[in-house]
Symmetry: C2
Subunit: 194 residues, 2 copies
């Protein structure tokens, strides 16, 4: 599992750090021998710029500049007010659609990242979710389901901001099994009843 999380100016901080934390913690725990994984696990933040100023003012340096998606088998698109600017990036939207059609590829979104998948044509005829303030907008493109994480074939969408953690855990569950996901969930203490 080689995952890219695409970040961009105006990306919501927790939208990408939640799923990043979960996947990177899985990798770290495999390295420590605390979990056994059936395939290598890698996660990178990729962006079109060398610095990314996020929605609430945090600045992050991506691991790699975006040069296409050929090196990855999972792509995660977080949300935030910055998604609006991606709507006009036809080259990127075309690449996202091509990626989604690749056999074995997994494509996911958090929050309003689902709109980017919609604009790319990935959500046609599918069930998906997004932040509660944007469900109506997304409903123009697909069947919106008000759940925290929605899996439809190889397309996984998460709800608002903090659902990023749940999305990451669901990806681990699908690709590496329930036991691995459960151990990562316990390690980050996301297993408490509320």
């Amino acid at each position: 599992l080689k995952a890219a999380i695409l970040i961009f100016p105006g990306v919501e901080e927790l939208d990408f750090v939640g799923v990043y934390e979960v996947l990177a913690k899985g990798r770290a725990m495999a390295g420590e021998g605390k979990i056994k994984i059936r395939e290598p696990l890698e996660v990178e933040l990729i962006a079109c710029t060398r610095e990314v100023k996020c929605a609430n003012g945090m600045t992050v340096l991506p691991h790699r500049l975006y040069r296409g998606l050929q090196d990855y088998d999972a792509l995660i698109i977080p949300g935030g007010r910055g998604v609006q600017a991606l709507r006009d990036d036809e080259g990127l939207l075309r690449e996202i659609r091509k990626f989604a059609e690749r056999p074995g590829a997994l494509i996911a979104s958090v929050c309003t990242g689902a709109l980017v998948l919609a604009w790319a044509g990935v959500l046609e005829g599918r069930r998906a979710t997004t932040h509660h303030d944007h469900r109506e907008q997304l409903a123009a493109y697909c069947d919106v389901v008000p759940e925290r994480v929605v899996v439809d074939g190889n397309v996984i969408t998460g709800g608002g901001i903090s659902s990023s953690l749940d999305l990451g855990l669901r990806i681990l569950e699908i690709r590496l099994g329930e036991e691995v996901a459960g151990k990562v969930r316990a390690r980050i203490e996301y297993d408490l009843e509320r």
Copy 2:
């Protein structure tokens, strides 16, 4: 409420981004007129270096270089394997202790950030919590309580990694009231039953 989150090499990503997201979202919602706050709300990431490489490989640029804590009235110390190096930073530990003794100051930790508070002498005679793997280590310094967030006077400690969100919400509740905290919780969709 002017909060500083101290970040350092090896800081755990979600440990600081969780509380950052919550406080920054409160500020943004106040700016949008969606919540009314009784005092201004600001949050900054501060560090001793211009770039901070986090525990799982994410690189963040702090808002400000650390030059003492005189400009803040809340200080939050996240955890991660990088805390070990702070143990020998006597100048910093002294500043943290001085900060905690200032009237009206609020001091908080997430995860193993509690160890930094302990080394600074802030937890003497107090109740506190930390990541489940480090409770025994922390018990040499204070009364360890296995709860998600522990409030003891002006010292607030959170449990492991994802409790960063709960810590942020508790700080909002204490300083700005339950209604504000509840609205931020709903906006980030952290209000779902699990």
